[in-house]
């Protein structure tokens, strides 16, 4: 990692140049919510003016640029009695600007599964390798709990990370292309003064978290609480809509479907992001459902997120962004569910 400082006006020039040469995606206000607060979304921009660097948080996660809601896995072409399979991995060099530390950490968690895990996914790797990531720190929203999950700072998985120190950004440069690009702009080696502001900034952010979720020993007490009545209480509220998984930066469960073209000459095998809260997630042929009740499915989502799987070293995969809590129409959020479980655990022990 190499550290530099760039003035905000020079940073703008850097962005403009990136946008000129590449497909660039950044946070843009797309709508307002029921309280008239802005809703932000990552989408392609054509000038630095469009990017709202002061945005709060994107409603959906950037995971969809790596794991699209729907993706063609392979294509079949039919001839008389035979068929042929073709597989092509999509390569789209892109710049993603303005990711928050937890967003980047979420990508690092997905990397553990799709890049470094068993059966690495070429679909994912192709996108990840060809995406240039610029991170940006921010003051947390009142309901963010990334600091509880230790995901409020980030040390890898990006090309450049910018910390706001007033008129300039303190840059952590983490890739060779990023270093080469920035050579063309006016960047300076951080002075003692810059270092101080940077440390102040980090302290300030750390202090600004208003929501804290106690996660220590969570993996083991989730096992103890497996049969807790708390799951029924929250399960009864759940609508099984799957929204939480769609907006979550680390949910990745999926479904595979095959579709035949209308002309009957082609077919495709597609993957589609799914959610474990949806009724038929664990249903098998013949109609048997391994998780028939709402509480079974909601519990399973929490179990996966906070207990973790072998694949991800049994660590929580939640980064604490609370996107799921904000999006849920039934008012289910990790903070309340975990606190409830913890209370129940304390009462019982």
């Amino acid at each position: 990692m190499i550290y530099r400082v760039i003035s905000k006006s020079e940073f703008r020039k850097f962005l403009e140049s990136l946008i000129e040469s590449n497909v660039t995606i950044g946070p843009v206000q797309s709508d307002v919510d029921r309280n008239n607060d802005p809703i932000y979304k990552f989408q392609q921009v054509h000038s630095a003016d469009e990017i709202e660097l002061d945005y709060t948080i994107s409603y959906t996660a950037v995971k969809n640029f790596f794991l699209p809601y729907r993706e063609k896995l392979s294509e079949y072409t039919f001839t008389d009695d035979d068929w042929d399979q073709t597989i092509e991995y999509r390569v789209h060099p892109r710049v993603l600007v303005g990711l928050r530390p937890c967003d980047i950490n979420a990508l690092n968690i997905l990397d553990r599964i799709f890049y470094k895990g068993t059966y690495p996914s070429p679909y994912y790797i192709s996108r990840r390798k060809n995406t240039f990531i610029i991170g940006l720190d921010h003051e947390p929203l009142p309901d963010c709990f990334c600091s509880s999950m230790n995901h409020h700072t980030v040390t890898e998985g990006f090309d450049v990370f910018c910390s706001d120190i007033g008129d300039s950004y303190y840059l952590a440069i983490n890739s060779s292309p990023a270093f080469d690009f920035l050579k063309k702009f006016q960047v300076t080696v951080p002075t003692d003064e810059d270092d101080k502001s940077y440390i102040e900034r980090r302290k300030f952010i750390k202090k600004s978290f208003k929501t804290n979720v106690e996660i220590g020993s969570l993996p083991s007490f989730l096992d103890i609480e497996f049969d807790s009545p708390i799951w029924k209480k929250w399960g009864d509220k759940c609508l099984n809509c799957g929204t939480c998984a769609m907006v979550c930066p680390t949910c990745y469960c999926y479904q595979v479907e095959e579709n035949i073209a209308v002309n009957l000459k082609k077919a495709s095998k597609d993957m589609m992001l799914y959610s474990c809260t949806i009724l038929d997630f664990a249903e098998v042929a013949g109609g048997h459902n391994f998780r028939p009740k709402k509480e079974d499915r909601l519990k399973y989502r929490y179990y996966h997120h906070y207990r973790g799987f072998e694949e991800n070293a049994k660590e929580p995969i939640c980064v604490g962004c609370n996107r799921c809590g904000r999006a849920c129409l039934a008012d289910i959020n990790p903070k309340d569910v975990i606190n409830d479980l913890r209370l129940d655990n304390e009462e019982r022990s």
Binding site: V91, P93, R94, N130, F185, Q255, R291, Y303
Partner: protein, 304 residues
């Protein structure tokens, strides 16, 4: 101001792995994960009204060589345009000519498969999953216990012990079916007994007028044989209710739970530990299973 900041392109489509067929047993290596081995259906044997046995030949010579498996593993079988389903390998690990799969007709993909005739092409990925510890069982008695379609995954270990018969002591196959008409592989029982010296016992719940064998539940077969609990391993395949009953009986007889093996069934969409459809508690059935010893099964959340 014109600074060219064009990103370098890293095209995975040009990487060497693209030119070689995937080898699904090398789980950590980058491969073309959704590439199927094209197979020709070279034989279809009607077993019952709902089950057929398919013989598939992998067409490409290199792929045929790569495809090596162990008893208990499964493949993802794809009918292009219809779907992909996990199916247990039901053949001998030494049969390098063709692969045997016994398929029950129960839904979209399996229905089309039952319409398929000799000469049709299907796709196959695999083998996936872990396997039965056949080497550990050497020098011991082996109980192979199957209920219904469970005889399909049991054929792997059955072929294995038959081919290495000297390495195992007494081998019993205990098979239970609902009705005589639903019994699978009836044409092979004689061979197993006479040629392979396997003690084959079967039982049905609802006999018909032509049935003159045993009637009752599969656990009753355990009363008919002598079991030395210290030197016996068991493999139990069938629906969860069935293996629960059988394993509890074996436990009473004194066989340690870590010497009983079962094969779990879950919904599967990838076979590669990605889609999460096959999770049991925090374990992937497709990668960490489908074979588990009974002790692990009892300790897995939501296994039965």
């Amino acid at each position: 101001m014109k600074n060219d900041l064009k990103l370098p392109v890293q095209d995975v489509n040009l990487e060497p792995f693209m030119a070689t067929p995937p080898q699904y047993t090398r789980k950590k290596v980058l491969m073309k994960t959704d590439k199927v081995y094209k197979c020709k259906i070279i034989n279809v044997i009607d077993l019952t009204e709902y089950e057929k046995l398919f013989h598939l030949k992998i067409l490409d010579r290199v792929e045929r060589k790569i495809f090596q498996f162990r008893p208990g593993q499964f493949v993802m079988l794809e009918v292009p345009g219809y779907g992909e389903v996990p199916i247990s390998l039901s053949s001998s690990t030494n049969n390098h000519e063709y692969i045997e799969l016994c398929i029950r007709k129960t839904g979209r993909t399996t229905n089309v498969l039952h319409e398929a005739s000799v000469g049709a092409y299907v796709g196959l990925r695999g083998p996936f999953g872990n396997s039965f510890p056949m080497e550990k069982m050497q020098g011991n008695n082996v109980l192979l216990i199957a209920g219904g379609l469970g005889l399909a995954p049991l054929r792997g270990p059955l072929y294995w012990v038959s081919e290495y018969r000297d390495l195992y002591k007494d081998v019993h196959v205990l098979y239970g079916a609902k009705e005589p008409s639903q019994m699978l592989f009836t044409y092979q029982y004689n061979e197993w007994e006479k040629v392979n010296h396997i003690n084959m016992l079967s039982i049905v719940e609802n006999p018909d007028e032509n049935w003159n064998g045993r009637v009752g539940m599969i656990t009753e077969l355990l009363d008919e044989i002598e079991i030395d609990p210290i030197n016996t391993y068991a493999i139990v395949c069938g629906p969860p209710v069935m293996f629960k009953f059988v394993c509890n009986r074996l436990d009473k007889i004194g066989i340690p739970m870590n010497k009983m093996f079962v094969s779990l069934e879950r919904r599967m969409h990838c076979g590669m530990g990605k889609c999460c459809r096959c999770m049991v508690g925090s374990t992937f059935t497709c990668v960490d299973g489908p074979v588990f010893d009974y002790w692990s099964v009892l300790n897995l959340k939501e296994a039965i």
